[in-house]
C-alpha cells in the first residue's frame, strides 16, 4: 500500500470556522439526540458540583453541631447524587459516541459513494493509497474529535461555569478574590498553547518527513545498497530523527514547565482562600464548611485546564483531516451526465465513431480522425503496437474518459446524451488483466448483482466450459479465491471473466485479450468459450491471438493514433502494409503454436 506520507505534512489552523461549520452539518440529522446529550451533560456536570456542596452542609449543619442522624441523611443524599451522576455520565458517553459513530458512518458513505462516481481521470491522478487514507484514516481522526475532543470541551466549560456560579452563591467576596488568579491562568495557558502549537507543528512535520524518508529508502533499498551509500543514508536519517527528537524535547519542556506553573497558580488561590476565607471564619462571617467547599471547588477548577492541551492536539489533527476530506468531496467527475438523458434499453449494437479526437494531456493527442461504423452483431478485431491507441479507443467507448472532439454513437445516439450507467449496462468489458475479487467463484461471476440467479451462473459457467475446472475445485462455485484470485491459473481467471460477461448478457462485448501464454489445453478451452461469448453480439476485440483475428469479420489496424487499414486477414496481408508486418511480428509465430518462455 503506497500511503503518501508527504500529504500528512499539510497542516491547517487549529480551528477553522469554515471547516467547523461544514463538519457540524453532519450532526444535523441527529439534532434531537445532540440536544438530549447536551442536556444530560448539563445535569451530569451539576451532580459533579454537588459533592463539595454536600460536604459543606455536612460539616456546617451536622458535624459541627454533632448531629449524627442528620449526617446520615446527607450521606443518603450523597449516595443518590453519586448514583445519578454515574448513570448520567454513562448515558452521556454512550450517546455522544453513538452520534459520533453515526455521523462518521454518513461521512464515510458519502466519500465512498462520491469516489465511485468519479471517472478514471481521477483514479489515474490519485494513487489508491491516497484515496484509501481519506476514507479510512482521516475519517477516524474526525471520529476522535467528535467523541472526545469537541464535546468534552463543552462539558469542561459547563463545569467551569457551574463552579463559578456556586462559588459566587456561597460567598461572592471570597469567590471574586479567588477569581483574581484567573488572568494569570489565562496568560499561562495562552503562552503554553502558543509554544506547544509551534512544537506540535514541528513534531508533525518532522514525523511526516521521517516517515517519507524511511519509506523512500526502504522502497529504494537496492539503489542504496548497490551504491554503498548506507552510511550516507543513515546520517541523513539521523539528522531528521534528531530534528524530531529536538521538537519532542521542546514540547516536553513546555509541558514540564506548564504543569508546575498551573499547580503554583492553584496554590495561590488556595492561599487566598485560607487567608481571606480563614479570617472570615475567625470573624464568624463564613462557615468552616463553606471554606472546605471552596477549597474543593478550586481544585476542580484546574482539572479541565490541564486536559485542554491534549484536546487541542486532537482538534488540530481533525482540522487537517477534514480539509483533506472536503477537498476530495469537492472534486467533480469530468463526465457530466446529461440533464435530459435519452433512455437506453436493450440496444441493437450499432456503433459509430465520427471524426473522434482525444488527448489525455493538452497538446499530446493519442487519437485522431477516428471514423468507423460497426454493424449490429459484427465482430471487429483491433490490432496495433503498444501505444497505438487501441486501449484509449475502448476506454472512450465505455465512457471512462470524456471526449471533447468528434462523436461516438450507439444505435445512432450520442454517448453524451445517454446516462453513463445506461450505456454500460449494454456493454460487457473483459480486460487483459482479469480482476478477481475476494470471495467465491459465484461472486466473481455475478459480482454483487444478487438478482442474477444461481441457475444463470451455472448456465454461464457451463456455456464457457468453466464448469469442467470449477467442479474439480474444493467447493465448486463456493471455492474461495485468494487475493486477486492468485489460487487460480491465468487461463482459469480468463474463462471466469468470460462467464462474468455472459451472465450479464449485453448486446456489446469489448474484449482486451490477454497476452500471456497458456497451455494448449486451456488455449482450446478459451477459444471455445470465446466463440460462445461472441455469438450474437457486436464485438470489439483488441486481439493478441491469431485464432481471434482469423475469426472476425473485419480487422482494424491502428497505428500512431489513427486507423490505417481495415479489412479481412487475407485482404490486409495482400496489402503488404502495416498489418502484414504486425502479423509477422506478433501473430505469425502462433502458426506453429510453440509456446516459449
Amino acid at each position: 500500500m503506497d500511503v503518501s506520507y508527504h500529504d500528512e505534512e499539510i497542516l491547517g489552523k487549529a480551528y477553522d470556522n469554515r471547516l467547523m461549520k461544514r463538519l457540524l452539518t453532519y450532526l444535523k440529522p441527529y439534532r434531537r439526540l445532540v440536544l438530549l446529550s447536551v442536556a444530560i451533560l448539563l445535569l451530569s456536570s451539576l451532580t459533579q458540583l454537588a459533592g463539595p456542596y454536600l460536604t459543606k452542609v455536612a460539616i456546617d449543619k451536622y458535624i459541627t453541631a454533632g448531629d449524627s442522624k442528620g449526617l446520615l441523611r446527607i450521606i443518603f443524599l450523597f449516595m443518590g447524587v453519586i448514583a445519578l451522576g454515574f448513570s448520567l455520565e454513562y448515558i452521556r458517553v454512550y450517546l455522544m459516541e453513538y452520534i459520533g459513530q453515526k455521523a462518521m458512518y454518513d461521512m464515510r458513505m458519502e466519500i465512498f459513494s462520491h469516489v465511485q462516481e468519479l471517472n478514471l481521470t481521477f483514479f489515474d491522478k490519485n494513487p489508491v493509497g491516497r484515496i484509501l487514507t481519506r476514507i479510512t484514516f482521516d475519517v477516524n481522526v474526525l471520529n476522535e474529535m467528535f467523541t472526545s475532543g469537541v464535546v468534552a470541551i463543552f462539558g469542561d466549560i459547563f463545569i467551569l461555569i457551574g463552579i463559578v456560579v456556586v462559588m459566587l452563591l456561597l460567598k461572592w467576596q471570597l469567590a471574586l478574590i479567588v477569581f483574581s488568579v484567573i488572568p494569570f491562568l489565562v496568560i499561562a495557558t495562552a503562552v503554553f498553547r502558543k509554544k506547544v502549537r509551534q512544537s506540535y507543528r514541528d513534531v508533525r512535520t518532522a514525523t511526516a518527513r521521517i516517515n517519507a524518508y524511511t519509506q523512500e529508502h526502504i522502497t529504494g533499498i537496492s539503489v542504496v545498497q548497490s551504491f554503498t551509500v548506507e552510511q550516507k543514508a543513515y546520517s541523513g536519517f539521523e539528522k531528521i530523527n534528531k530534528n524530531l527528537m529536538n521538537a519532542r524535547l521542546r514540547s516536553v519542556f513546555y509541558y514540564a514547565v506548564f504543569f508546575p506553573v498551573v499547580e503554583l497558580i492553584g496554590a495561590f488561590s488556595l492561599v487566598l482562600i485560607i487567608g481571606y476565607g480563614g479570617s472570615k471564619v475567625i470573624a464568624g462571617t463564613l462557615t468552616l464548611g463553606a471554606l472546605v467547599a471552596f477549597i474543593q471547588y478550586a481544585d476542580r477548577f484546574y482539572r479541565p485546564i490541564r486536559d485542554l492541551s491534549e484536546k487541542y492536539n486532537i482538534l488540530q489533527s481533525a482540522m487537517a483531516s477534514s480539509e483533506r476530506i472536503f477537498k476530495l468531496l469537492d472534486t467533480k467527475s469530468d463526465i457530466i451526465n446529461p440533464e435530459n438523458p435519452i433512455p437506453l434499453n436493450k440496444v441493437q449494437g450499432k456503433i459509430e465513431f465520427k471524426d473522434l479526437y482525444f488527448e489525455y494531456e493538452k497538446g499530446n493527442p493519442v487519437l485522431y480522425d477516428i471514423n468507423l461504423k460497426i454493424q449490429p452483431g459484427e465482430k471487429i478485431a483491433i490490432v496495433g503496437v503498444t501505444g497505438s491507441g487501441k486501449t484509449t479507443l475502448i476506454n472512450l467507448l465505455c465512457r471512462f474518459y470524456e471526449y471533447k472532439r468528434g462523436e461516438i454513437l450507439i444505435d445512432g445516439v450520442s454517448l453524451k446524451k445517454i446516462r453513463e450507467k445506461d450505456l454500460r449496462k449494454n456493454i460487457a468489458l473483459v480486460l487483459q488483466d482479469v480482476f478477481m475479487f475476494a470471495g467465491d467463484i459465484k461472486r466473481n461471476i455475478r459480482l454483487d448483482s444478487k438478482e442474477i440467479s444461481l441457475e444463470r451462473i451455472k448456465q454461464a459457467a457451463f456455456e464457457v466450459g468453466a464448469d469442467k475446472f470449477i467442479d474439480k475445485l474444493d467447493g465448486g462455485l463456493d471455492f474461495q479465491l485468494k487475493e486477486r484470485g492468485l489460487n487460480l491459473s491465468v487461463g482459469q481467471r480468463q474463462i471466469i471473466a468470460f462467464a462474468r460477461a455472459l451472465v450479464f448478457d449485453p448486446a456489446i462485448l469489448i474484449l482486451d485479450e490477454a497476452t500471456s501464454s497458456v497451455d494448449t489445453e486451456t488455449e482450446i478451452l478459451i477459444q471455445k468459450a470465446l466463440k460462445k461469448l461472441l455469438a450474437g453480439r457486436t464485438s470489439i476485440i483488441i486481439a493478441h491471438r491469431l485464432s481471434t483475428i482469423k475469426g472476425v469479420d473485419r480487422i482494424v489496424v491502428m497505428h500512431k493514433g489513427k486507423i490505417r487499414e481495415i479489412g479481412t486477414h487475407d485482404e490486409l496481408l495482400q496489402k503488404q502494409g502495416i498489418y502484414s508486418r504486425l502479423y509477422q511480428l506478433q501473430y505469425k509465430d502462433q502458426e506453429v503454436t510453440i509456446v516459449d518462455g
Binding site: 451522576g85 458517553v93 479570617s279 475567625i282 459480482l447 518462455g597
Partner: protein
C-alpha cells in the same frame, strides 16, 4: 544469536542510568511535597476551629506556597529526566532499526511488505516509547503517592484509613479489567478496520470492472454493510469503555461518602478533628487519578512488550550477504568477470543453470533473451544483490564472495530496469554515490544526454524531484539514473534494460559517448534493441536460464538461431516505426 525483546529494551533503558538515577528521586520527592499540602490544610482547619491565630495562618499559607514551588521543581525534573530519556530511547531504537534495515538483504525486502516495516518503525515504536516513558514514570509516581498518602492517613486514624482505602484497589482492578476488555474489543475493531481497508483497496483497484458492470450501487451497499458492522463493534467497545470515567467518579464518591459518614461521626465523638477529616478527603481526591492510571499503565506495559517483540523480529533478522569475517579483499577492480558452471535459484527452482562465461576487462557485452529468461537475475549476482554460492562467480579471478562487500559494490555501476530516484534535487540524485564532485555531475549528465533537459528546468540541477517537486518523464528518469551510475566512475557498468523509454537515436548517442569516456569500463547491456547491442564485443543469448548462443552480431546472424529471429523482429518493429 536471537535476542529477547525484554533483553533489548533493558539494554536501552540501562544506557540512560543517569536519567533514572535523577528521575526516580524526583518522582518520589514530587509525591512527598504534593502530599504535604493537605497536611498543612489539616492544621489550618484545626486552627480555624480552635483559637484562630492569624499569625499561624500566614505561616501555613507560606508553607503551602513553598511546598508547591518545591513540588513544581521536582515535577519539572521528573519530566525532564524520565520523559526526555524515553524520547532519547525512541531516537536510539529508531536509528538502530534504520541502520539495521539498511544492512538486510534484498530477499528480506522482496518478502516483506513496506507497509509492514513502516508499521513497526512507527506505531510499534510509539507503544514501546509509551511503555518506557509515561509507563515507568506513572508507575513510580502512583506507587509513591499511594505509599505516602497511606502513611499520612494512618497517622491520622487507622480505622478511617482502612475504610477510605477500601474502594481504591477496586479502582485499579477495575481499570485493569476495563482496559483489558477494551483492548480485546479494540483489537476486534482494528481487525474489522483492516477488512474495510482491504475492501476499499480492492474496490479502488478494480474500479474499471466495477464501473464496466455498473456495480457502483452494489459496492456502496457492501461498503455500507461493513461500515454498519464497524459502528456495531465500536459501540460494543463504548459500552465497556463508557463505564470507565463514571465508575472512577463513582468509586471516589463512595470513598468520600464513607469518610464523611464515619469520619463525621468520629469528629462528632471527638475521636478526630475536623482538620483531619478535610485532609482525609483531600488525600482521597489526590489518590483517585493515580490509582486509575495504574490500570492504564498495566495496559501500556502489555502493548509495549507486544510491540517490542515485533521490533525485535527485525533486529533478529540477519543479512546473509556480508563481507567475509576477515573483512574481505579490498582492491581496485580491473573488470574481468567470469561465471563458472553457475546455478542460481530464488527458492528451489533454478532460474540460471550451467552458465559459463568469461568477460575481459573493458569489453562490452550484450545479453539478450525473452522476458523471464534469467537476464536480470544473472547481472544482479555481480554486485551480490542476491547470494551466489562460492566458486561460481569470479571478478578479476577472485571469488565474488571473498571481496569486501562495500569495495565490490562501490566499483559497480548498476542501472536497474525499474528506475528509482529519490525525492530530492537532481544534483543530489546524480551525486548519490560517495565522493562525487560537481564537475563529475555535469560531465556525466552530458554523457547520459540529460544535461539539456536539466538546463531547461527553471531551477536547473537544483530542481526537486518527486511528489513535492516535478515528475520526470520515463526517459528522463532513465537518463538521470544512468548519470547517477556513471558518477561513481564504475569499473563495471551494468545497464539492465536502461534505455527502454529512451528513443533509439538518443540511446545510440549515449552508447557512443560511453565508448569514448568509459573505454576501460567493462559494460554489460541488457536490451531489446538490436541497434544498441550490435556493436558490442560479443552477444550472449539466454533461453530458459541457459546460454543458447554467444558470438558477435555477424557471427550470430550467420548462425541463424534465436538471435536471427529476434533481429528480424527488431527490423520489423523499426519498419513499423517509420510507417
Amino acid at each position: 544469536m536471537k535476542k529477547e525483546a525484554s533483553g533489548i529494551i533493558k539494554s536501552y533503558i540501562l544506557r540512560h542510568k543517569r536519567a533514572w538515577v535523577q528521575g526516580i528521586p524526583a518522582v518520589i520527592l514530587t509525591t512527598v511535597f504534593t502530599m504535604a499540602v493537605p497536611w498543612i490544610l489539616r492544621h489550618v482547619i484545626n486552627i480555624l476551629k480552635g483559637d484562630g491565630s492569624t499569625k499561624k495562618l500566614i505561616l501555613y499559607a507560606g508553607a503551602i506556597i513553598a511546598a508547591t514551588i518545591i513540588q513544581g521543581i521536582f515535577r519539572y525534573m521528573m519530566r525532564q529526566t524520565m520523559i526526555v530519556a524515553s524520547w532519547d530511547i525512541e531516537y536510539e531504537i529508531r536509528n538502530d532499526l534504520f541502520s539495521h534495515l539498511l544492512k538486510l538483504d534484498r530477499r528480506y525486502f522482496d518478502s516483506t511488505p513496506t507497509g509492514d516495516i513502516m508499521a513497526r518503525i512507527t506505531n510499534d515504536l510509539e507503544s514501546v516509547r509509551a511503555m518506557v516513558g509515561p509507563g515507568i514514570m506513572h508507575f513510580i509516581f502512583t506507587a509513591f503517592t499511594f505509599l505516602t498518602a497511606m502513611v499520612l492517613m494512618l497517622v491520622i486514624n487507622l480505622k478511617l484509613t482502612l475504610i477510605a482505602l477500601l474502594p481504591l484497589p477496586l479502582i485499579t482492578g477495575f481499570t485493569y479489567l476495563i482496559s483489558k476488555e477494551v483492548h480485546n474489543k479494540y483489537s476486534k475493531i482494528q481487525e474489522h478496520f483492516s477488512k474495510i481497508t482491504a475492501e476499499v483497496q480492492e474496490n479502488l483497484s478494480g474500479i474499471r470492472v466495477i464501473k464496466a458492470y455498473v456495480q457502483e450501487g452494489n459496492a456502496v451497499k457492501r461498503f455500507g454493510r461493513l461500515s454498519q458492522e464497524y459502528i456495531r463493534k465500536n459501540m460494543n467497545m463504548i459500552r465497556i469503555w463508557g463505564l470507565f470515567f463514571p465508575v472512577i467518579l463513582g468509586f471516589t464518591g463512595i470513598a468520600i461518602m464513607l469518610v464523611l459518614w464515619i469520619g463525621g461521626n468520629m469528629v462528632i465523638n471527638n475521636v478526630i478533628t475536623l482538620g483531619d477529616l478535610v485532609a482525609f478527603t483531600a488525600y482521597l481526591m489526590l489518590l483517585t487519578w493515580p490509582m486509575a492510571a495504574l490500570g492504564w499503565v498495566i495496559g501500556l506495559y502489555q502493548r509495549g512488550m507486544a510491540s517490542m517483540k515485533r521490533i525485535a523480529q527485525i533486529f533478529n533478522t540477519k543479512p546473509v550477504i556480508i563481507s567475509p569475517p576477515s573483512g574481505g579483499i579490498k582492491k581496485e577492480i580491473q573488470g574481468k568477470i567470469e561465471f563458472k558452471k553457475l546455478r542460481f535459484s530464488y527458492n528451489g527452482n533454478y532460474v540460471l543453470n550451467d552458465i559459463n562465461l568469461t568477460i575481459q576487462p573493458g569489453q562490452t557485452v550484450a545479453i539478450l533473451g525473452h522476458t523471464g529468461c534469467g537476464k536480470s537475475s544473472l547481472i544482479s549476482l555481480i554486485p551480490r544483490l542476491y547470494q551466489v554460492k562460492s566458486e561460481m562467480l569470479y571478478i578479476d579471478d577472485i571469488d565474488v564472495n571473498d571481496y569486501n562487500l562495500e569495495c565490490l559494490r562501490s566499483q559497480i555501476g548498476l542501472v536497474a530496469q525499474e528506475t528509482f530516484l529519490f525525492s530530492r534535487s537532481i544534483e543530489s540524485n546524480i551525486a548519490f554515490g560517495d565522493k562525487v564532485s560537481e564537475g563529475t555531475i555535469k560531465k556525466t549528465a552530458s554523457i547520459a544526454a540529460i544535461d539539456e533537459d536539466i538546463g531547461a528546468f527553471p531551477s536547473g540541477y537544483n530542481t526537486i524531484l518527486g511528489e513535492r517537486g516535478i515528475t520526470l518523464s520515463g526517459g528522463q528518469k532513465q537518463r538521470t539514473a544512468l548519470a547517477r551510475a556513471l558518477a561513481i566512475k564504475p569499473k563495471i557498468l551494468i545497464l539492465d534494460d536502461a534505455f527502454s523509454s529512451v528513443d533509439t537515436s538518443t540511446e545510440e548517442n549515449i552508447l557512443k559517448n560511453l565508448k569514448q569516456v568509459f573505454s576501460k569500463c567493462t559494460t554489460l547491456i541488457i536490451s531489446h534493441r538490436i541497434s544498441s547491442i550490435k556493436n558490442s564485443d560479443f552477444i550472449v543469448v539466454l533461453k530458459n536460464g541457459q546460454i543458447a548462443e554467444t558470438g558477435t552480431h555477424d557471427e550470430l546472424i550467420t548462425a541463424g538461431g534465436l538471435y536471427t529471429l529476434l533481429y528480424k523482429r527488431q527490423l520489423l518493429k523499426q519498419e513499423l516505426e517509420t510507417l
